[in-house]
Amino acid sequence: MKIQQDMTISEKLEILSDAAKYDVACTSSGVDRKNGGKGMGNCTAPGICHSFSADGRCISLLKILFTNECIFDCKYCINRSSNDVKRASFTPDEICSLTMEFYKRNYIEGLFLSSGVLYTPNYTMELIYQTLLKLRTEHHFMGYIHVKAIPGADSGLIEKTGFLADRMSINLELPTAESLRILAPHKNRNAILNPMRQIQQGITASRNEIAVFRNAPKFVPAGQSTQMIIGATPESDYQIVSVAESLYDKFSLKRVFYSAFVQVNEDAALPALPGGPPLLREHRLYQADWLLRFYGFKASELLSEERPNFNVLFDPKCDWALRHLEIFPVEINRADYYTLLRVPGIGNKSALRIVKARRMAVLKFEDLQRMGVVLKRALYFITCSGKMMYQTKIEEDYIARNLLNVKERLPADIAGGGMTFRQLSLFDDVNFGGTINGIGGGQI
């Protein structure tokens, strides 16, 4: 392990932001906090993107590791102990200074602090806690803080830290315990799920307290998230989506992030991915995740043991609609909100607009366009006043063929051979802009 002495802050920043970049979560969403005249900073619930890096991802937080010196040897990780890479560690004061100065210039919404495991999980967690404590109490920083809980750290430390952070996350890393055992021999599923449960219970307890005492301290007010690496292990999409579903249902997670595996180490236990990171697959998972969270879909409606992987050609909602043609076409002027949501080309915003606008007037196809409906896709599935837009057959092959001619608004470049990835808008109507945050979601 190379530990450089006397590094400048600039060298450290380069090493420790480079080492943090594979963590995909960079949202600053989930909490509204006014400043109210003290210190610096506030938070807005939808989050704010401050820049976009050359890979097209949103930069919202100062995303860094406290240290990349790590005693663990996770096979997929660039910082694993057996790798010969440059190592560096910040001091709490250096992190405070970077955060405050960046924030003041409106470069960032706040800090995303993660870390390798330096000496022991507790030692590392304590350093993270000290950093947050300084930021909140000495610098009176009121901006957003997302912090990682280190697997294996004491629950007391995690709790103290949670009262200073807005969001906490602990990475699931891989969808199954078996995969974790193979690729991350120093971690185990329980050391991940236990603190996840603890944070969940902390959040519930804190909400209950706030309901009684308005000024009770808030524990992780923006909720908890996690991340899974996609494509490093053999799980199917169905397995992954089912894991995500139970994380939402059983652990009340705010977000599950999916990270297409990037091959940074040569290791016999890792798959070779000649096509680069599986970005289309990651994209489909984000779309499905969106359907779970906002559209009332269940994992079992999207995939099954018999059809365990997403369709390469169609997004999960289109794919579902093509398999359920018996419920279509639906009448725009009558169908309820949840039925509208199931129509390809109608997102949650446009569905809401339709429900409101049809109280004022009978809606026609040209009105729908203005409400953000993507008619090219929706037209096979809807009627306005009993009429379809064109003469079309309600037949799977026919519609599928026509939909294939309408290019899916795929993230720039996934469509062409060069597979890449995009940050998707939280709103259904991408055309109209709106808050761009988080990774994933998007118009379906």
């Binding site: 943090a20 610096m40 097209g56 003041k104």
Partner: protein, 255 residues
């Protein structure tokens, strides 16, 4: 009948005054029009009326609209009025007339199938989106005297939409946001309220005098932005889709 065209100043008060005159004229919608500034091509058989901005009439109209069209309708009007599009005043007139003719005008913004309402909706959304983008894309630099200065070049007149956010966020700082396209400043002194200053220009020399560590932090930020990107996923097309070039000329990391 001849068309009557009311010509007003490009400001919320100007548009509100013109609305007042137009609504009280008793003329039908199809013969009424409001234009900002000079109507380029004078049409035959049209009557042009120049409206002098009158804060009192403007306030009266605004008050009436807040009551009759509710907060949503009123904000729709205010945001649309900040748009750079030329047809905004006439779209607002149409939307107001639709709203006033409804049983409950507070539902007016739901009536998107009405052409004028649809247009106001669209204008207001574009303006809010641009304002929202600026909340993230605005960059301050620290001057020698401690003031944080930002220069922006927005399409729409969004200063009053972004200033409250920074007042709350940077309440203990002195800061200034300068809209170069309109020569307008939003100015904030620590501990007091923000305000708009017009008719001044930026003192270029003082704006170039940076604080001692300013360049160091600019440099750290640039380094961060480039090292946080994943090379295997590089996609400048996507970057451009999310962060259009027009914003970049005012952003530190793209200098």
């Amino acid at each position: 009948m001849n068309q009557k065209i009311f010509i007003c100043e490009d400001s919320l008060d100007g548009i509100m005054t013109a609305l007042h005159e137009a609504l009280y004229s008793g003329i039908d919608r199809e013969y009424l029009k409001i234009c900002i500034g000079d109507e380029g091509n004078f049409t035959l058989f049209s009557e042009y009326i120049y409206v002098e901005t009158d804060p009192e009439k403007a306030e009266k109209t605004a008050h009436m609209l807040r009551l009759r069209l509710g907060a949503e309708g009123y904000y729709g009007i205010c945001h649309a009025a900040m748009s750079f599009e030329e047809d905004k005043a006439d779209a607002i007139l149409g939307m107001v007339m639709t709203g006033l003719s409804m049983k409950d005008g507070r539902m007016v913004m739901d009536h998107i199938s009405d052409k004028a309402v649809g247009r106001v909706f669209e204008l207001s959304r574009t303006v809010s989106n641009e304002a929202h983008h600026h909340l993230g894309f605005i960059r301050f630099r620290e001057l020698k005297n401690g003031v944080l200065l930002s220069e922006i070049t927005p399409k729409n007149d969004i200063l009053t939409l972004v200033a409250p956010h920074f007042e709350d966020r940077l309440g203990c700082e002195d800061w200034m946001i300068y809209d170069r396209n309109r020569s307008l400043f939003a100015v904030h002194r620590r501990g007091s309220r923000w305000g708009i200053v017009s008719g001044e220009t930026l003192d270029m020399d003082r704006a170039a005098e940076l604080s001692e560590r300013e360049e160091e932090f600019q440099d750290l930020w640039k380094r961060f932005c480039s090292s946080v990107s994943i090379r295997e996923r590089e996609n400048t097309e996507l970057q451009q889709q999310n962060l259009p070039l027009r914003f970049r000329k005012n952003m530190t990391e793209f200098e």
